[in-house]
C-alpha cells in the first residue's frame, strides 16, 4: 500500500520538476536566467484548463491516443522499480519494451489521423528512430536478464553481476543511454527546442495536439523521462553492493537528477546529429549491447557445458562455438532502416558508412 502511494506520488509529481530543472540547467549553462523550476506545473495546469482545437478530419483515434500513451507510461512507471524501491506491480523487461512501443504506436497513429504532412513526417521519422533505438534497449536489458537468470525487473536489479561487472556495466550503460536519449527525443538525435517544423521528429508528431490533449502528452513525456533515467540508475546501482532501501532510493533520485544535468550539458555544447548519421550512432549502441550479450553468453557457457535451464531457449550454448558468432548477423539485419533513410542502399552501408561521401546518394 505504501509502495502504491509512493510510486503514484512520485510518478505524478516528480516529472514536471525534472523537466523544469533540466530547462533551468540548460538556461544557466547558456548564460540565460531561464524559467522558474516550477514553470512546467503551471504550464500543465494552464493546458488542462484550456480548450482544444481539433481538426475536423480527425477520428476518435486522435482523441484517444494521448490517453493510451499516458496509460502505457503509467503502467511502466508502476511496474519498473525506478525509484530503487520495490515497485507495486510486477515488471518485466519485455513488458516494458512493448509498452513503450505501444505508446509510440498510438501517438504515431494520432499524428497520421488529421492527415497533415508534418504529422505524417513526424510519425515516419519517429518510427524510423524507434526501429533503430529499440534493439539496443532490448539487447542491453536481455544481457542483464540472462545474467540474472530472470527477465523480472525486480529479480534482475536485485542480482549483482560477478567478475565481468567491469565490462558488462559500461557496455549496457552505453547502449541504454543512447537508446534512452533517442526514445526521449533528446539531443543528439532530436532537438526538443527547435521551432523548425521541417527538422522536428517528436515535436512534429504532436503539432496538432492542444489543450488537455497536449497536457497529457507532455505529462507522459515527463514520466517517460523520469522512468527511463530511473531504470538507468538501477542498472548503475547494480555496480554497488546491495544498499539499504532508503540509500538505494536516495541514490536513484540523485542519479536521475544527474542524468538530467548530463542531458542539459549535452544539449548546450553538442550539435544535433545529421539525420543520415543517426543510424551510425544507434549502431554504436547496438554493438555495445550485442557485446554485452556475448560476454554474458560466453560466461554462462564456460563453467557448465550442460544446457542452462534458466537461460532463454535462443541462448542455450550450442555444440559448435562458431555458432555464437554467426548468430550476430541476423540481429543486425533486424535493424535494417526503412527506405526513407537510404534509398535502395543496403543497411550495412548505413551502419558502417565512412565519415563522409558514401551517404550522398
Amino acid at each position: 500500500m505504501i509502495g502504491w502511494a509512493l510510486y503514484l506520488a512520485y510518478t505524478l509529481l516528480l516529472p514536471p520538476l525534472l523537466i523544469g530543472l533540466l530547462r533551468k540547467l540548460k538556461s544557466r549553462l547558456q548564460g540565460r536566467q531561464g524559467p522558474p523550476v516550477w514553470q512546467v506545473y503551471r504550464d500543465l495546469a494552464k493546458l488542462a484548463r484550456k480548450g482544444e482545437t481539433i481538426s475536423e478530419t480527425t477520428t476518435w483515434v486522435f482523441a484517444a491516443a494521448p490517453s493510451v500513451a499516458l496509460g502505457c507510461v503509467l503502467v511502466c512507471a508502476l511496474s519498473v522499480p525506478w525509484l530503487g524501491l520495490p515497485a507495486p506491480l510486477h515488471g518485466d523487461v519485455f513488458l516494458l519494451v512493448y509498452l513503450l512501443a505501444l505508446g509510440k504506436f498510438a501517438m504515431s497513429l494520432a499524428a497520421l489521423d488529421p492527415g497533415t504532412t508534418f504529422g505524417a513526417l513526424g510519425a515516419s521519422r519517429e518510427a524510423a528512430v524507434g526501429v533503430l533505438a529499440e534493439p539496443a534497449l532490448v539487447l542491453a536489458l536481455a544481457a542483464l536478464a540472462v545474467q540474472a537468470g530472470s527477465s523480472d525487473l525486480a529479480v534482475l536489479f536485485a542480482s549483482r553481476p560477478g567478475a565481468e561487472l567491469g565490462t558488462l556495466l559500461p557496455l549496457v550503460g552505453t547502449a541504454l543511454w543512447l537508446s534512452i536519449t533517442a526514445e526521449l527525443a533528446r539531443m543528439p538525435v532530436d532537438d526538443p527546442t527547435t521551432h523548425l517544423e521541417l527538422t522536428m521528429i517528436h515535436e512534429a508528431l504532436i503539432l496538432e495536439n492542444s489543450g488537455r490533449n497536449l497536457a497529457l502528452v507532455e505529462l507522459g513525456a515527463g514520466i517517460k523521462l523520469a522512468v527511463l533515467f530511473g531504470l538507468l540508475a538501477q542498472v548503475l546501482l547494480m555496480g554497488t553492493p546491495a544498499l539499504a532501501p532508503w540509500a538505494a532510493h536516495a541514490t536513484s533520485l540523485a542519479l536521475i537528477v544527474g542524468a538530467c544535468a548530463v542531458v542539459a550539458f549535452i544539449e548546450t555544447v553538442m550539435v544535433r546529429l545529421r539525420w543520415r548519421r543517426i543510424p551510425a550512432l544507434m549502431a554504436f549502441g547496438l554493438t555495445a549491447a550485442t557485446m554485452a550479450c556475448l560476454i554474458v553468453a560466453l560466461k554462462s557457457e564456460a563453467p557448465s557445458p550442460a544446457p542452462d535451464r534458466h537461460a532463454p531457449a535462443w541462448h542455450r550454448p550450442s555444440a559448435q562455438p562458431s555458432d555464437e558468432t554467426t548468430a550476430i548477423p541476423p540481429q543486425r539485419s533486424g535493424l535494417r532502416p526503412d527506405a526513407t533513410l537510404e534509398r535502395g542502399g543496403p543497411a550495412r552501408a548505413v551502419l558502417f558508412a565512412p565519415r563522409s561521401g558514401a551517404e550522398h546518394v
Binding site: 540548460k26 549553462l29 547558456q30 548564460g31 540565460r32 504532412t117 508534418f118 513526417l121 521519422r125 539531443m187 543528439p188 532537438d191 527546442t193 527547435t194 521551432h195 523548425l196 517544423e197 521541417l198 527538422t199 544539449e267 548546450t268 555544447v269 553538442m270 550539435v271 544535433r272 546529429l273 545529421r274 539525420w275 543520415r276 548519421r277 527506405a339 526513407t340 533513410l341 534509398r343 565519415r355 563522409s356 550522398h360 546518394v361
Partner: protein, 502 residues
C-alpha cells in the same frame, strides 16, 4: 551616359555574349518610352578593357512593338525571374510561352492587373484566363509533397515552399513569394524625391543602410553632385556595420538550426554590440534614416567616434573568441560540409550574388568590381569561398565580418569630426536622364535604377534586391538534400522576402 539602343532580336544574343566576356545583367525591367509604348531597360555591367575584374555600368534600351518579350531565358538563364516579373507588372508575355507562371502577383489580385503598365493590355494579348499558379508536379511512386508556409512556425516573413520528396530526400523545391508585394516601386516613383529616402528604408528593413546608400548614389549621379569625402567614408562605415550585424545574426541562425545552443549564445552576445556600434555612428540601431542623398543626415562628433571605436575593438576581440566555437567544432562542420551545394557552373548561370556567390567561387563584389570609393584606397580584398556548400557560405560570412571590422577601424581612424558631411541639393531633377546606384549590401549586389521624364519627374524607379538573384540558388541547393537539412540551407542563404516582393 546615354542608353544604347539594342534591337529586340539582338537583346538575348548580346546579353549572352556580354555574360560570357565576364559581364553581368544587373537589372532587367521595362519603362514607358514616352510614346505610350513600353521599352525594355537592361542595366548591364560590361567588363572594363583595362583592368581585369573591373566592370562598368551601362543601360540598354530595347523598344517593343507589341506586348511580347523576345526569347530570353534559353540564352540568359539568370533573366528567368526578371522575365516573370515583367509579365506580372507590365503584362509583357514571353513569345515562347503561352501562359507564364506569375512570380509576385497572386490570384487574390484582380485578374489581368498589370500595375506598372501605362495603358491597358492589347485585347489580343490577353487570353481572358485569370493567372493561375501551377506548381511543378513530380511524378513517380512514393513521391509526396510537403507544403510549408506562407505562415511559418517561427516569426519570419511569409513565403511558400513546396517540397516534392521521395522519403526524406528533396527531389524538387519550388519557392513561391509575393506575399509582401506592396507596390513599392510605384510608390517610389510617385513620392517627391526629396522625401523618398524615408520610403527606401522600408524596402527591406534589415538592409536599411544598403538601400539608403543605393538610393543616394542613384540620386546623386542623376544630379551630378559628389558627396563630401567624410560622408563617403561614414556611409561605408554604416554599410559595413550593417554587414557585421546581419552576418552575426545569420551565424546565430547557423548555430540554432544545428541545435548548437552554446554557439548561438556566443554570437547572440555579439550582435547587440554591433547594433550599439550603429547607434554610436548614426543614432539608430538599425541604420534608419542615416544616409540621405547629398551625404549624411547627421555628422559624427568626436566623442561619438570614440564610442564607436571602442565598440569596434570589443567586436574584434569578441569575434576572435566566438568564431572558433563554430568553425573548430567537428559536429558543426560535419553538419555544414557538403550540405546544400550550388556548383560553380550553376552559380554562374543563375547569377548568384553576394556571399552565396563568392562561396561558390565567383569573384563578383560590387565594392571591388566598380572600384567604389572609399574601398579602393583601403587596401582590401573581397572574401573568397570554395565549394559552394553551407560551410563555404559560413566561412565567407566569417571572413566578411573580420574584413568589415578591419575596414570600420580604418574608416573611423581616418574620420575628421569637423569635415562637412552634406552638400545642398538642387530643387529639381534633370529631365530625360537615367542613373543607377549599385551597392554591395550584406546579401550582395543591390541595384536602384531611376529614369526621369521630360519634366524631370521620375518615370520609373526600379529596385533589385540581391535576394531576387539568390532565391533560385536556394532551390538548387535544396535539391537532393534531406528535408531536415533544408532549414540550415535556407539560413545559409539568409534571403529577404520583402526586398524581393517589393
Amino acid at each position: 551616359m546615354t542608353p544604347t539602343t539594342v534591337s529586340r532580336a539582338d537583346l538575348a544574343p548580346q546579353l549572352k555574349a556580354l555574360i560570357e566576356r565576364g559581364g553581368r545583367l544587373a537589372l532587367l525591367t521595362a519603362a514607358d518610352d514616352g510614346q505610350s509604348r513600353l521599352a525594355l531597360a537592361a542595366l548591364v555591367l560590361s567588363p572594363d578593357g583595362q583592368a581585369a575584374g573591373q566592370l562598368r555600368p551601362a543601360l540598354w534600351r530595347t523598344p517593343l512593338d507589341d506586348d511580347t518579350l523576345p526569347p530570353l531565358t534559353r540564352l540568359v538563364p539568370q533573366a528567368h525571374w526578371a522575365k516573370r516579373a515583367l509579365y506580372d507588372f507590365f503584362g509583357l508575355r514571353p513569345a515562347d510561352q503561352a501562359r507564364p507562371n506569375p512570380l509576385l502577383l497572386h490570384e487574390a489580385w484582380p485578374a489581368h492587373l498589370h500595375p506598372l503598365r501605362p495603358t491597358p493590355c492589347d485585347g489580343a494579348a490577353e487570353t481572358g484566363e485569370a493567372t493561375r499558379y501551377r506548381f511543378l508536379e513530380v511524378g513517380g511512386e512514393g513521391v509526396y509533397e510537403i507544403p510549408v508556409g506562407p505562415i511559418h512556425a517561427g516569426i519570419i516573413e511569409p513565403g511558400h515552399f513546396r517540397f516534392s520528396c521521395h522519403g526524406e530526400v528533396i527531389q524538387h523545391l519550388e519557392i513561391r513569394l509575393g506575399y509582401q508585394h506592396r507596390g513599392l516601386e510605384e510608390q517610389l516613383a510617385r513620392t517627391p524625391w526629396r522625401q523618398a529616402h524615408h520610403v527606401v528604408s522600408t524596402i527591406s528593413s534589415d538592409t536599411a543602410a544598403g538601400n539608403a546608400l543605393a538610393h543616394a548614389l542613384a540620386v546623386e549621379s542623376l544630379l551630378d553632385i559628389e558627396p563630401p569625402p567624410a560622408a563617403v567614408a561614414l556611409r561605408a562605415a554604416l554599410l559595413e556595420c550593417e554587414r557585421v550585424a546581419c552576418h552575426l545574426g545569420d551565424l546565430i541562425g547557423y548555430c540554432a538550426d544545428t541545435g548548437f545552443a552554446a554557439g548561438a549564445t556566443a554570437f547572440s552576445l555579439l550582435r547587440p554590440r554591433a547594433q550599439i556600434l550603429s547607434e554610436w555612428l548614426c543614432g539608430s540601431r538599425y541604420q534608419a534614416h542615416a544616409i540621405v542623398p547629398g551625404g549624411l543626415a547627421r555628422p559624427l562628433p568626436g566623442d561619438q567616434r570614440e564610442g564607436a571605436e571602442h565598440c569596434v575593438t570589443q567586436l574584434i576581440d569578441g569575434f576572435e573568441r566566438a568564431e572558433p566555437l563554430l568553425l573548430d567544432n567537428s559536429g558543426a562542420l560535419e553538419r555544414m560540409a557538403g550540405t546544400g551545394v550550388v556548383p560553380r557552373p550553376i552559380a554562374d548561370e543563375i547569377g548568384l550574388v553576394g556571399p552565396a556567390g563568392r562561396a561558390a567561387g565567383l569573384d563578383y563584389d560590387v565594392r571591388s568590381a566598380l572600384s567604389q570609393p572609399p574601398y579602393a584606397d583601403l587596401g582590401w580584398q573581397p572574401a573568397r569561398g570554395g565549394d559552394g556548400d553551407v560551410l563555404a557560405r559560413c566561412t565567407v560570412r566569417c571572413a566578411e565580418i573580420r574584413a568589415s571590422l578591419t575596414l570600420l577601424r580604418r574608416l573611423l581612424a581616418q574620420h575628421n569630426p569637423d569635415a562637412p558631411t552634406r552638400v545642398d541639393l538642387p530643387d529639381r531633377l534633370p529631365a530625360d536622364r537615367w542613373a543607377c546606384g549599385l551597392v554591395e549590401a550584406w546579401r550582395g549586389e543591390l541595384v536602384h535604377l531611376v529614369l526621369t521624364g521630360d519634366q524631370g519627374q521620375i518615370l520609373r524607379y526600379a529596385v533589385k534586391d540581391p535576394s531576387f538573384n539568390n532565391w533560385t540558388g536556394l532551390a538548387v541547393a535544396a535539391r537532393g538534400e534531406v528535408v531536415s537539412d533544408f532549414p540550415l540551407c535556407n539560413k545559409s542563404f539568409g534571403l529577404s522576402y520583402s526586398g524581393n516582393d517589393l
